[in-house]
Point group: C2
Chain length 112, copies 2
């Protein structure tokens, strides 16, 4: 996974930071991969960036065209089930922040 | 580093995603650590979360009380010098997004 190619602001970013329990890594990996594919097929999806460190801390930022698009994604039945499993099994802690991107700036050496 | 304990919204999040070149890892680590300490001492700083994966992709989210606080941090002389080195040496690519956090929700098994 690399960086997301998002359009000019404004758009929305869902910042999901978590501490993994380390339980059931194969189940987690399979569902995480499925959720990325499912999110990407939702209306208003703009991109996703996700990193997990060796210490179990992870940050996933998904980008969306509107708050309505974010709501629809969080209410998707399969995503709801994944959220339930996340609370029950995979995450010891998480923070979810919905934000509106006001300004953006990029840098790419290959574009020099 | 763990998750940031931020106040109730609204507040601001600077989402910095990058691809590291892998050049000069010791110099990078030292400056990155110094920048976290320096940011934490700035007025309006609320917290920071940072993860870099084995593939070189990193996400750092810093939280701020206002856009003015973010501007002051980006104009800090020592931070400006670190930004210059980042473009010149440490990052092949990055995206910087300034966003306003509208809603937040947390989960902590230890608080059950």
């Amino acid at each position: 996974m690399s960086l997301a190619a998002t359009p000019a602001p404004p758009y929305y970013a869902v910042i999901f930071t978590s501490v993994a329990t380390g339980e059931d890594p194969a189940g987690y990996a399979a569902v995480a991969e499925r959720m990325v594919a499912l999110a990407a097929a939702m209306p208003g999806f703009l991109g996703i960036e996700s990193v997990r460190g060796a210490d179990g801390v992870g940050i996933t930022v998904s980008y969306w065209a509107s708050e309505e698009a974010i709501r629809a994604w969080y209410q998707h039945a399969e995503h709801r089930e994944a959220q339930r499993l996340g609370r029950e099994r995979w995450y010891g802690r998480f923070e979810l922040r919905v934000s509106r991107v006001e300004r953006a700036y990029g840098f790419d050496t290959s574009a020099r």
